[in-house]
């Protein structure tokens, strides 16, 4: 007669638990991407209804015309410009306050008009957008520093609104031209 085997449910060794956990941990560590999505936020203008009256014309001196062609060249106020100097030029235009007759009357009526070609590269477009935004942001920071001794981001909602009132960001984008796409 065979001996009956006595089954003893032996304890599972928990010593390797840590190893298994480590293995999983490393897997998740490697696959995790902590990158936050960042980017330049803009708001598109709504399509105007057909029966809307055309807006009153803006004085020419208050419009800062930025044109980008299909070869990524920049024309600012009729002058060939490098993208490096765009920020300074924009700032100069905005804070003119009526001194120079060719530049803006005051920052709150000034409009930056950006027009690009269908053949402009996206990279260049972003660079220009970035410089224009930077000009506004720097001016806002300066104004915030003067008034409250803090940077614009650190102000509370009310104060930000006030600064925004001084420097409203008016970047208008015209429909792109299609001259250079055949180049």
């Amino acid at each position: 007669m065979p001996k009956k085997k006595i089954r003893v449910s032996s304890d599972i060794n928990a010593g390797s638990m840590a190893d298994i956990a480590f293995l999983l941990l490393i897997f998740f560590l490697v696959t995790t991407t902590m990158d936050v999505d960042t980017g330049i936020s803009i708001k598109l203008p709504p399509i105007p209804p057909d029966d809307q009256e055309p807006p009153p014309p803006i004085k020419e001196r208050n419009v800062f015309v930025v044109l980008v062609n299909a070869r990524d060249q920049l024309l600012v106020e009729g002058e060939w410009t490098n993208v490096n100097t765009l920020r300074t030029k924009t700032k100069k235009f905005l804070v003119n306050n009526g001194i120079d007759p060719n530049l803006s009357d005051s920052p709150d009526v000034a409009v930056v008009s950006l027009q690009n070609d269908r053949g402009t590269s996206y990279d260049m477009y972003i660079k220009v957008q970035n410089e224009l935004k930077a000009a506004y942001n720097e001016l806002r920071d300066d104004a915030a520093m003067n008034k409250y001794g803090k940077k614009f981001d650190k102000l509370n909602g009310e104060q930000q609104k006030e600064i925004r009132g001084i420097y409203p960001q008016k970047i208008s984008e015209a429909e792109p031209k299609d001259v250079g796409s055949t180049l």
Binding site: K43, R87, N130
Partner: protein, 160 residues
């Protein structure tokens, strides 16, 4: 009398117990498991984002829809060529598909959240503006006005 207190001194530095090590590791494990976001869409277009300095973080991920524009990845280049294309969700699309896509994305969300939805444009830096303008125009037509040009942090203008 004194020997009563001296007893403890024997043995040098005691070993640190490793019994709680699994617990610590598990804690870390759960943290990473929870924070991990697996990519839901597989990219069919190559997107190399341009750099910019004036960037903002996209706050609520759940309210963001992505539109990818770029040349097809190498694997698909033989099939689809190298002209930039639009990718919505998992498939190539054309400009005409965008209103549908926006409608679908809106339906998937709470009605109250719809005004806060952002369209994130992930565009390759080599792409010409023509296609991007077309997309923007379509978005305007369906009143999806909040958009975000996805960029990475960096300063290319002054070369810093």
């Amino acid at each position: 009398m004194m020997h009563k207190f001296r007893k403890k001194k024997a043995g040098g530095t005691p070993q640190i117990s490793t019994a709680s090590l699994p617990d610590i590791v598990f804690m870390l494990l759960f943290f990473f498991m929870v924070t991990t976001v697996m990519r839901e869409t597989s990219l069919k277009v190559k997107v190399q984002r341009p750099a910019a300095t004036e960037i903002q973080k996209l706050e609520k991920k759940s309210l963001v829809s992505y539109i990818y524009i770029g040349p097809p990845i190498k694997m698909l280049a033989t099939l689809y060529g190298t002209e930039p294309r639009i990718q919505l969700d998992d498939a190539f699309a054309t400009v005409d598909n965008i209103p549908e896509f926006v409608e679908k994305e809106r339906k998937a969300r709470n009605e109250a959240e719809v005004p806060y939805m952002t369209m994130s444009l992930k565009v390759d830096k080599e792409v010409r503006m023509g296609i991007v303008s077309d997309v923007k125009q379509e978005l305007r037509k369906v009143n999806a006005l909040k958009i975000n040009y996805s960029t990475r942090k960096g300063d290319e203008v002054s070369g810093k």
